[in-house]
């Protein structure tokens, strides 16, 4: 069923009786060409691009819980491509371009809103660093715009420009950045994959891999064994846990990241704004709540909940740039498990086991990467060659000394 305004009108006039479920709920078959482990954003987008762009349709996605129940359902919805390093920036810019065509592509309203992202800077040195970042964004075909303080005073008069400790000197805009409706992204990909015949199998936990003589032939699950020519793992925070079943240790630590929503307010924030002297990012949802977050808690965790010191730190960051939010009440907070890699950059790669592939290490930046991650993973699965924008996202890069360390803090996952 194609969704359209006409369809809404027609269904509205006929009692909304013609809607059908957006995807089937199939039982697992005996075997598939590709089994994707993990029905989150990246797994579903991989299934979507495999079936829609690469013609691989004998595919199953196996998911322990419900589709889109992990980090795709609990992030702060920001999309952007304002990275710097050559191994990263072309990849994220490809993702940005896929975002721009996503809704037409999937025929699903993902509420992609290019409302801009603004990274504030607070010192001359930081401005220089942002100019450099902007130039490397240009090299990858992305957009960037440096705004001085006078411009920001006109556009965003509520910012605390004269903060005694961190005065706001200006900011780096990416006007094409913004937000998207996170759940709808997963649902749109799921529906698009299902329409091509991909089996989306929920409540099906992988309990082991069938590996013989260095070749992976399938997975064991709570709903029986499933054969597969290729097994593609894509499980974010559970990466280490799942890959340990294949005998692998990963350059990943799992950490908890908290996010927050305030009570609903009238429109106050035009786009996404980030604090340059601490870690705070905020946007306003269409329902009016301020959606914001900051640093990870900083210790290994699988608990999906964090602690109060980070709540305080995040709120302090918010107060430092926009004191107007001080009287807004915090409505909800939650935590998600981040697969923090050793250099802050992800992996889309084959493993040393034939037929076993790995996608992970997205740290707390996986949402914006959802389209390109799926596209590049699908490319790798379909052709056995990395996509040209993902050639650096390899598992062996630490051994070779080719870390992609945007922040330059070394192999300390909780600092990325």
């Amino acid at each position: 069923m194609t969704y359209s305004a006409f369809r809404i009108l027609k269904e509205g006039l006929t009692g909304n009786k013609g809607w059908t479920p957006a995807w089937r709920d199939p039982d697992p078959q005996e075997g598939y060409d590709v089994v994707i482990v993990g029905g989150g954003g990246h797994g579903l987008s991989t299934a979507y691009y495999l079936s829609n762009k690469f013609g691989v349709r004998n595919v199953a996605v196996v998911e322990k819980g419900l589709l889109g129940g992990g980090n795709i359902g609990r992030n702060t919805t920001i999309i952007r491509s304002n990275y710097m390093l050559p191994g990263n920036e072309p990849f994220y810019e490809m993702s940005m371009k896929l975002w721009e065509g996503l809704e037409q592509d999937t025929n699903y309203n993902s509420m992609v809103s290019q409302r801009s992202i603004l990274n504030l800077f607070h010192s001359d040195g930081q401005r220089d660093a942002f100019v450099r970042r902007a130039n490397s964004m240009f090299l990858a075909g992305a957009d960037a715009e440096l705004a001085d303080q006078a411009q920001l005073r006109r556009e965003l008069p509520f910012l605390d420009f004269d903060n005694a400790r961190f005065p706001i000197k200006g900011g780096l805009y990416q006007r094409r950045g913004g937000t998207a409706r996170h759940d709808a992204v997963a649902w749109g990909y799921a529906r698009g994959a299902d329409m091509q015949g991909v089996d989306l199998i929920q409540n099906c936990e992988v309990t082991g891999f069938d590996i013989k003589d260095g070749v992976c032939h399938g997975v064991q699950t709570t709903r029986g064994a499933i054969k597969a020519k290729k097994v593609a793992v894509c499980v974010a925070g559970s990466s280490s846990h799942v890959m340990a079943m294949a005998g692998m240790r990963l350059p990943i630590e799992s950490h908890v990241l908290q996010a927050f929503v305030s009570e609903g307010l009238k429109p106050v924030l035009p786009g996404v704004i980030t604090f340059g002297a601490g870690h705070f990012y905020v946007s306003q949802s269409d329902k009016g709540g301020l959606v914001f977050g900051g640093d990870i808690d900083g210790y290994n965790s699988y608990a999906q909940r964090g602690n109060l010191p980070v709540v305080e730190d995040v709120c302090e960051g918010g107060m430092a740039i926009m004191p107007m939010i001080g009287r807004a009440r915090l409505l909800r907070s939650w935590g998600g498990i981040m697969d923090m890699s050793m250099d802050g950059s992800p992996f889309i790669d084959k493993t040393h086991i034939d037929g076993l592939y790995f996608n992970g290490g997205w740290c707390y930046g996986g949402f914006k990467a959802t389209p390109a991650s799926g596209y590049c993973y699908a490319h790798l699965l379909a052709t056995d060659e990395p996509h040209e924008v993902a050639t650096e996202l390899r598992l062996d890069r630490f051994k070779r000394g080719h870390m992609i360390d945007e922040k330059g803090v070394g192999n300390q996952p909780n600092l990325h």
Binding site: P251, E253, S301, P309
Partner: protein, 95 residues
């Protein structure tokens, strides 16, 4: 989280800096034949368990001691706190 410091008693975890898995105490022998491989594993690969985890915390806002904390990564419950110095010596380290 409250970390029950062996010398100072219960302290807020916010006073500490987290380093990571306590296996970082076991620095490989730099003169070994396979030192490069050992240091790769030491520097970059982690068990990252869901459950009991022994980890290094540094009391930066306190007495600047290194601690080995045994904590459950699923519940954040801390069951044991030792001075890293004692743990290292028990393993035969003299420095």
């Amino acid at each position: 989280m409250i970390i029950n410091h062996p010398i100072l008693g219960p302290r807020d975890a916010a006073e500490f800096v987290y380093l990571g898995d306590a296996s970082l105490i076991d620095r490989p022998d730099w003169q070994a034949e396979d030192a490069a491989e050992q240091f790769y594993k030491y520097g970059y690969l982690r068990d990252n368990p869901a459950g009991q985890h022994q980890e290094l915390w540094y009391h930066e806002q306190g007495d600047r001691s290194w601690l080995v904390v045994t904590r459950n990564t699923l519940s954040h419950e801390i069951t044991q706190v030792e001075l890293a110095r004692d743990v290292a010596r028990a393993k035969g380290r003299d420095t």
